[in-house]
């Protein structure tokens, strides 16, 4: 089993996300994380899916996704083939802020992005392993809440959805 990132370029069509996720559900495969956003191209959406599967499975999944009528193209990559980040937010009570916390924030190069009377929110961006490490460190400081985004990714290998669209067969 390997961790893969699938980048799916789709038309902006109601239900497209459902059509893609049921491909995983039907095969009993868990999606580790999923994010959807606009892409560089007007009107084309980009869905980033993180999944842990075998090589046979990732090939099969990508083909099934690409078979969906409103999917333009689906590419899959191993972790070493993508640049990726996840953003994490940590909510700490004001009274647990002490030099220990300050040290941790400095070490991780994290930021306090909100300060309220009762709590602060710390933001830290990195790979899952890093945001998880900070989570473990902050837990003893009465961490109130934790939230992490799905992966956003840019592929290293060169490909162009625009070129694909221009190239009519």
């Amino acid at each position: 089993m390997n961790r893969y990132t699938i980048l799916v370029y789709t038309e902006n069509f109601i239900g497209i996300l459902n059509r893609i996720t049921i491909i995983f559900t039907r095969r009993g495969i868990n999606i580790d994380a999923l994010t959807a956003s606009e892409s560089r191209l007007d009107g084309i959406h980009k869905i980033t899916i993180e999944v842990t599967v075998t090589e046979d499975q990732i090939v099969h999944l990508s083909k099934q996704i690409e078979k969906t009528v409103d999917v333009i193209k689906a590419y899959y990559f191993t972790d070493s083939e993508v640049v990726y980040q996840e953003i994490a937010l940590y909510k700490l009570p004001i009274d647990s802020l002490d030099p220990g916390v300050e040290k941790v924030i400095r070490q991780f190069n994290a930021h306090i992005i909100a300060a309220e009377k009762e709590f602060v929110v710390i933001e830290f961006t990195g790979h899952k392993e890093d945001t998880r490490a900070l989570l473990e460190i902050l837990k003893p400081f009465n961490l109130l809440e934790f939230s992490r985004s799905g992966r956003v990714a840019i592929a290293k290998p060169k490909f162009s959805v625009q070129e694909y669209l221009n190239n009519q067969t």
Binding site: T10, E11, I14, G15, N18, R19, I22, R26, V59, H60, K63, Q64, E66, K67, V69, D70, V71, I72, L165, T169
Partner: protein
């Protein structure tokens, strides 16, 4: 400006739809109201259940090569289509289903007869869409027909809210010719063809497996030309039957769990396996770990997601097999394989002695299903269409029916939908009243959609229905006998008087229990002008052989 409902009907007419199979209800009533004005341009068939409508549309689509059109209301009308959608999806049958939906402002409020049919049908459709305003109707229907029919065909559903049906809009039909995210065909690379030809030319024991893809691509002549030039033995899948006439010298039989002895056994003896328009279904391959491991595999397939899915291939020829077969025929050398072919013929004789002789020429005891099919062969036209349900009768009819023409095989293959045959036969018959449509069913399956006798009565479709009655859910019983210690758990049926039922629907009916009455009765049925129902009481505990049990290898095909 015309109503949305008129736009629906005019769009269907613009797509040259000949028939609509449907059932009215609240949320689709405006479309039904519009249909009233167009009965000279498009025919509507009122079935007795929405499942009957969609199976009839499937039967129509399978024999005509055109899109089958279905019309149903929201809620239960739409959910009754689900089985047919799943069936059409797995068997690649082009359908456009139009369902009514509650008005847009009521969506998500649990309104009367509201159901999320787009959500429900998503896994069972090639594409679906909900239309909520009048201007979206014609483009959605145009897109639906394009998607249903092109590439690997499949069912499409268009859900139209009631407000869209009653709003007024302009009608200017523009057929959909391309969708930028959807590339159903690819250019075939000559290099790949050359690589495939190289494998085929150097093969000593090449073997062709063909499936419904040949029929869907209209590549029957191309397949024949390829086989004529190469002399390679060729076997058919369930849905491929008819793509090649069975008297063609290359034809060696049928594949799969209840296919023929030689084609299964020798799969593990060939050196190059050439699969054309087939998807290596588990009912064809048996245990994949022991399937054709010795062979190099050439796969001619339109759908890229089928390539390497079940069987890894050496050369993948992705594209329309009408084109790829023609290119391949150009590239290969003229050849013949008499010794290899002889191996098939020898095993064929073994099967004839061990199974077929008794199946077709019973002399004592109960009637065999095979005897009935054998007699049908004697009286049928070459282009007669065989429609079957699911179970023992389906396998026996498929094994023994003499397929001579393409698009004469209509059955529920991938999904195995009991109840499919009776409505599908009706749809097949409506495409051409002059053709013989023979519907072979079991006593289990016919009762799942027996209400469609009503539609046969109303349309006067001259379908010949042959009920092979063994008072059992026969295929399940066979498995119980072989694998569950003869524990016949809930498979024996207490059946009604089928003759009375058929006669109640004004269908001429006859029951045969004795061997000596069979031939004349089959002849009488085939020659009869209108619809005919023939019930044949067959041996209660007959089994279908050869058989590859679940989990076994194709080599372990057994004759008894």
């Amino acid at each position: 400006m015309i109503r949305g409902a008129d736009i629906v009907v005019k769009s269907l007419i613009a797509e040259n739809a000949e028939y609509i199979f449907g059932y009215p209800g609240g949320a689709i009533m405006p479309v039904y109201d519009a249909l009233y004005d167009y009965s000279d341009q498009i025919k509507h068939v009122l079935t007795r259940h929405e499942q009957g409508a969609i199976h009839a549309a499937q039967g129509y689509a399978r024999v005509s090569g055109k899109v089958g059109v279905v019309l149903a209301t929201s809620g239960p009308g739409a959910t009754n289509l689900i089985t047919g959608l799943a069936d059409a999806q797995i068997d690649s049958t082009p359908l456009v289903c139009i369902t009514g939906q509650v008005a847009a402002h009521l969506l998500g409020t649990d309104a009367f007869q509201e159901t999320d049919v787009v959500g429900l049908s998503m896994p069972g459709t090639k594409w679906n869409i909900q239309v909520r305003s009048v201007e979206e109707i014609a483009p959605a229907i145009a897109k639906a027909f394009h998607i249903a029919m092109t590439g690997r065909p499949g069912p499409v559903l268009v859900d139209i809210t009631k407000n869209a049906q009653v709003e007024f809009g302009e009608f200017n039909y523009v057929p959909c010719l391309r969708i930028r995210s959807y590339r159903p065909y690819v250019r075939i690379d000559q290099k790949v063809i050359d690589a495939a030809a190289e494998l085929i030319n150097t093969a000593e024991r090449p073997y062709v497996l063909y499936g419904q893809g040949v029929v869907l691509a209209g590549a029957e002549e191309e397949l024949k030309a390829f086989l004529d030039k190469t002399g390679i033995p060729a076997a058919s899948t369930l849905l491929g039957s008819g793509a090649l006439p069975q008297d063609h010298p290359s034809y060696v039989g049928k594949l799969g769990m209840h296919g023929n002895y030689a084609p299964n056994l020798l799969t593990n003896k060939c050196d190059v396996l050439i699969a054309v328009g087939m998807r290596f279904d588990d009912r064809v391959t048996g245990d994949l770990k022991r399937y054709a491991k010795q062979a190099k595999v050439v796969h001619l397939e339109l759908d890229p997601s089928e390539i390497d899915k079940n069987v890894k291939c050496t050369v993948a020829v992705q594209g329309d097999c009408k084109t790829s077969l023609a290119m391949l025929t150009q590239a290969v050398q003229t050849n013949s394989h008499p010794e290899w072919m002889q191996k098939f013929r020898a095993l064929e004789n073994e099967e004839k002695e061990a199974v077929i002789a008794n199946d077709l020429h019973g002399t004592h005891g109960g009637l065999h299903m095979g005897e009935v099919i054998h007699l049908i062969n004697q009286f049928k036209e070459d282009d007669a269409i065989l429609v079957t349900d699911v179970g023992q009768h389906q396998m026996i009819a498929w094994r023994y029916f003499d397929y001579k023409k393409t698009r004469t095989q209509v059955t529920s293959g991938g999904l195995g939908t009991m109840g499919f045959a009776l409505p599908a036969a009706l749809g097949a018959q409506l495409h051409d009243y002059k053709k013989q449509v023979i519907c072979v069913v079991g006593d289990g399956g016919i009762q799942m959609t027996i209400q469609e006798f009503g539609t046969i009565m109303q349309t006067k479709a001259p379908v010949k229905v042959v009920l092979l009655n063994n008072n059992y859910l026969g295929m399940v019983r066979q498995w119980q006998q072989l694998f569950f210690d003869k524990r016949y758990s809930f498979t024996e049926l207490e059946n009604p008087d089928f003759i009375k039922i058929a006669e109640a629907y004004k269908i001429k009916a006859k029951k045969v229990t004795e061997r000596e009455d069979l031939e004349s009765s089959v002849a009488e049925m085939i020659l009869h002008q209108g619809p005919y129902f023939l019930e044949v009481v067959v041996e209660k505990e007959d089994n279908v052989f050869p058989m590859i049990a679940t989990g076994c290898s194709v080599e372990e095909v057994r004759l008894s």
